[in-house]
């Protein structure tokens, strides 16, 4: 099984004290300065939609967002183009990219946003590659765990597939027993 087009979400802990619209300015600066490794091309502000995609730094290879899908704020990294390497490489990389963005956003809005140091979500944004069913988890579990362990630097964590509605994308919620550092590369 090939895992591509991964999405990592790092949830915001507690209340979001910043105005999410302030991310628009930050993301414009990211585009102008080509701050991130991927080429960013635009900023989409979708805060008028409840429980929606929030503010997105739209990129060619990947998007970054202050995301509110499902009603909970999170820092999101969404890989759009395929990546080389193993599944575990890609899992580690997507978490590291979200983590790097989270570090920049926390630094920009110091004290107003705190990203979780032990919870994360990984989504496979491709139903053809990874339909949301138990067989997918069975096939992907080892690679997911290897990649997550590489990102965390340890194996003391749990992951749980988010089954239920087969229409939704395959995803796992993860929880690390130890806190991890934001901004660390894989």
């Amino acid at each position: 099984m090939e895992l591509q087009h991964l999405v990592a979400r790092l949830p915001v802990e507690g209340e979001l004290k910043m105005n999410p619209a302030d991310c628009v300015n930050l993301f414009h600066r990211w585009v102008a300065g080509q701050t991130m490794p991927e080429m960013l091309v635009d900023v989409a502000e979708l805060l008028h939609v409840p429980a929606g995609p929030g503010v997105i730094a739209v990129g060619h290879e990947a998007d970054y967002a202050l995301d509110r899908t499902g009603g909970n704020w999170a820092i999101l990294y969404r890989r759009k183009t395929p990546e080389d390497g193993t599944n575990a490489d890609r899992v580690a990389r997507v978490l590291a990219s979200a983590s790097a963005a989270a570090a920049l956003i926390e630094a920009e809005f110091s004290g107003q946003i705190a990203v979780s140091r032990n919870r994360f979500e990984i989504v496979v944004n491709d139903r053809a590659l990874a339909p949301n069913r138990s067989e997918t988890f069975a096939a992907a579990e080892a690679d997911l765990k290897e990649g997550i362990a590489r990102f965390l630097g340890h194996s003391d964590f749990t992951i749980a597939p988010q089954g239920g509605d087969a229409r939704r994308r395959f995803s796992v919620i993860g929880e690390s027993k130890k806190t991890f550092s934001i901004g660390t590369a894989a």
Binding site: H5, V24, H28, V31, V41, A51, N125
Partner: protein, 754 residues
């Protein structure tokens, strides 16, 4: 691009109808050939447009980042069309004929919005869906997935027959003549890919309405407007249509004209075919600015156009498809899934429910059943909400749902007994907003968010107005609650600003040496009567002062309104002059950027607005003063022309609009040639030589279109003006003066040409 792209063809084999499946295969091949340089870029551009793959802002690889216009570091690849970067994200428009959409289609939209776009599906003013930030190489897989649930993007863009829109209440409306749904569906699939509809110079938009006096179908603003009608023949009621042609918004709007007062239903498809043939053969092809069917009708007159259409109709070979569907059409009827019941009284204390029922729920013609509008903010809905909506529609109905031209959804066939439970389900999904059709249910085109033609942020303004007005709208007078606000990011009117009670379209002005986002205030439009009247711009005001402008206009309306007078009638009675007087102070005296930088950026965008247009120090102040003086006078003259038209003095109005254009042209000529006189011939000649022959006046997209307005008016001096013609001349004069401003801004920001 997506790793799974090759998989979908096999996964969906046999589930996509022909010829759609083959056409998508062809498009995939054409993408590959373009990558190899074996298809010309212009040909490929039209090819992708006819497949619904549209350009998006920054697709030329340039982006203004707040200090300068910079290149985005896209890879060096073939282009998708002239000046269009291969890898730049684009928009995909998805046709939804007459707005009819099933729960399965909603679920599929959710999937593709998540996997290929930004998790949002956007409902357009023509009942389509749009997805943004789509990569061209993902388009075939996306189209296959859409095709597997019966959706096509074919001919959603380009010079083709666009989505056939229709009244979302068709079949359930108490005032309709009959249900137009089967006829709209038949026309959709008859013209889709029809050989007679493949050689247009421009797009062709059809719309159906079940009745003449309601706005739901907006038949009068379409290239082909079809309104249900009946007549009695030998004691029997015969179904047919009033057929309109040549309507359209765009920069210079036209009301459609009557092709025939009654065409029996059997004649609908052959007449549409004949119209297509006449348009395809005689419509303008080289100058796209004069290529819509309305210009052909202008040129010929409706009588000659009608003669040609009926002559062409007489020559057509009979086609069984013209009538094959008719027997089924008479029998076709949606059915409810649950027994009907009257709407129960709303429990006391549930204010949200009460508001929602009042604004969003409407009784159907069929007793015991209701429609419920799902009001979407700016036409946007998330993937999760699409799935929730699919579940809700299945739970309460037999899957009966439509998109609307107000950028909302309409659930049909809801039993009165289920209305409260429906509301609760919608609320849980974040879809229970009240206020459908209310003043804060604002229509807006994508504007500068994603459209490369956008000048000012229409969605930004609409979002701001929505927030402000929603907070207080339910305490407003009902007359204010019922107003319609329509916002376009430029004069092209995708936000339908011409037919709103309060219309706005984006432009800009240079103030204190900086460019400032402005909106023209458009008054006099009418949403009712199938978009029965078009408004005219009265004054341009800074974008950030539009909320204040709305407060002033609505306050004035409430103060001066007579009894139950509608806003449209009110404006007709009092005229535009007193409104202009109210707004004039807002147009001027902007604080400096140091005092209030907010005026110098747009809603929701902290970048300094078009800072590349800074012209400080490049022009002598004296010249600027004279320029401003002249263009201000030109704008005043256009407004005075409107007042003359209101007074019924069409001849004076048309002539004054022409003189306003001369004044605007003179303002530019004086920048190069101080001694130009007031002699019209000299102004026109100097303007032509200095600004048109040199292409200085050329619009980036429209080319010499706006200059042609002056030249045409000058060449036609002495003609007789009807009210319609004067209306057109005033609109053109306003656009010409906008173009003067744009040219002036460009010249001030660019080094002088040798």
């Amino acid at each position: 691009m997506k790793a799974s792209n090759p998989l979908w063809k096999n996964l969906l084999a046999g589930r996509i109808a022909e010829p759609l499946a083959s056409e998508i295969d062809q498009f995939e091949t054409e993408i590959e050939l373009r990558k190899q340089g074996k298809i010309d870029e212009k040909v490929f551009a039209e090819t992708r447009l006819r497949r619904g793959a549209y350009g998006q802002r920054y697709d030329n690889g340039q982006r203004h980042d707040g200090t300068d216009s910079r290149k985005l570091p896209f890879a060096d690849k073939p282009t998708k069309g002239p000046g269009t970067i291969w890898d730049a994200p684009g928009m995909l428009r998805i046709k939804v004929p007459f707005g009819g959409v099933t729960p399965e289609q909603l679920e599929l939209m959710a999937e593709v919005a998540e996997e290929y776009s930004d998790n949002i599906a956007h409902v357009t003013t023509r009942q389509d869906f749009q997805l943004h930030f789509i990569h061209i190489e993902n388009a075939p897989a996306l189209m296959r997935r859409l095709g597997s649930v019966g959706i096509t993007t074919r001919e959603a863009c380009g010079n083709s027959v666009r989505n056939v829109t229709g009244c979302p209440l068709a079949g359930v409306c108490a005032c309709e003549t009959f249900d137009v749904t089967p006829y709209a569906r038949a026309l959709t699939y008859f013209l889709l890919g029809h050989p007679d509809a493949q050689d247009f110079g421009r797009k062709f938009k059809p719309a159906f309405s079940g009745c003449a006096d309601q706005p739901c179908g907006l038949a009068y603003m379409h290239d082909l407007g079809v309104i249900a009608a009946t007549r009695e023949v030998d004691g029997k009621v015969q179904r047919g249509f009033r057929i309109l042609v040549g309507g359209g918004l765009g920069a210079v709007p036209r009301q459609a004209r009557v092709l025939t007062e009654f065409a029996p239903v059997e004649e609908l498809l052959p007449l549409a075919q004949a119209i297509s043939r006449v348009f395809g053969r005689h419509g303008e092809k080289r100058n796209r600015n004069a290529a819509r069917i309305k210009f052909l009708i202008d040129k010929w007159g409706i009588e000659k156009f009608r003669e040609e259409v009926f002559a062409e109709r007489a020559k057509l070979r009979p086609d069984p498809r013209w009538t094959d569907y008719l027997d089924a059409a008479l029998k076709e009827a949606e059915k409810p899934s649950r027994p009907g019941a009257d709407l129960p009284a709303v429990p006391k204390g549930n204010e949200r429910l009460a508001r929602w029922v009042k604004s969003n729920v409407r009784p159907q013609r069929q007793k015991g059943y209701y429609t419920a509008t799902v009001a979407l903010p700016l036409g946007d809905i998330t993937a999760d909400q699409l799935r929730d909506l699919a579940d809700i529609v299945r739970r309460f109905t037999a899957g009966t749902l439509r998109t609307t031209v107000d950028q909302n959804f309409l659930i049909r066939w809801v039993s009165g007994a289920d209305v409260v439970a429906l509301f609760e389900a919608l609320e849980a999904a974040g879809l229970g907003d009240a206020g459908a059709g209310n003043i804060f249910d604002i229509t807006a085109c994508p504007g500068t968010d994603t459209c490369k033609l956008g000048i000012s942020s229409s969605r930004g303004l609409a979002g701001e107005l929505r927030t402000r007005l929603a907070a207080k709208s339910f305490t407003m007078d009902q007359a204010i609650q019922d107003l319609h606000i329509k916002v376009s990011g430029c004069f092209n009117s995708c936000g339908q600003h011409h037919v709103g009670d309060l219309g706005f379209y984006g432009n800009s002005r240079t103030v204190n040496g900086f460019r400032v986002p402005y909106f023209q205030v458009v008054l006099g439009g009418q949403w009712e009567n199938n978009a029965g009247a078009y408004g005219l711009p009265i004054v341009a005001i800074p974008s950030k002062r539009v909320p204040e402008a709305i407060d002033r206009i609505t306050g004035f309306y409430l103060e001066q309104r007579q009894k139950q007078e509608s806003f449209h009638d009110f404006i007709k009675r009092v005229g535009k002059a007193p409104v202009r007087k109210l707004l004039d102070p807002l147009a001027e005296n902007l604080p400096s950027p140091e005092q209030d930088p907010g005026f110098y950026n747009d809603w929701g965008d902290p970048r300094q607005y078009s800072i590349g247009d800074i012209g400080k120090g490049e022009c002598a102040g004296e010249v600027v003063t004279r320029y401003q003086f002249e263009t201000t006078a030109a704008e005043r003259m256009v407004f005075e022309a409107q007042l003359m038209l209101e007074d019924g003095r069409a001849q004076f109005a048309g002539e004054e609009a022409y003189r306003a254009m001369l004044r605007g042209a003179k303002a530019l000529v004086q920048m190069q040639y101080d001694d130009v006189t007031d002699e019209p011939a000299e102004i026109v000649q100097e303007f032509r030589e200095r600004f048109v022959d040199t292409q200085l006046f050329f619009d980036q997209f429209a080319g010499p279109k706006f200059a042609a307005y002056l030249f045409d008016a000058h060449a036609a001096v002495g003609r007789k003006f009807t009210a319609d013609l004067a209306h057109q001349q005033i609109t053109e004069a306003q656009l010409f003066i906008e173009a003067v401003h744009n040219c002036h801004n460009r010249l001030r920001s660019e080094p002088a040409k040798a």
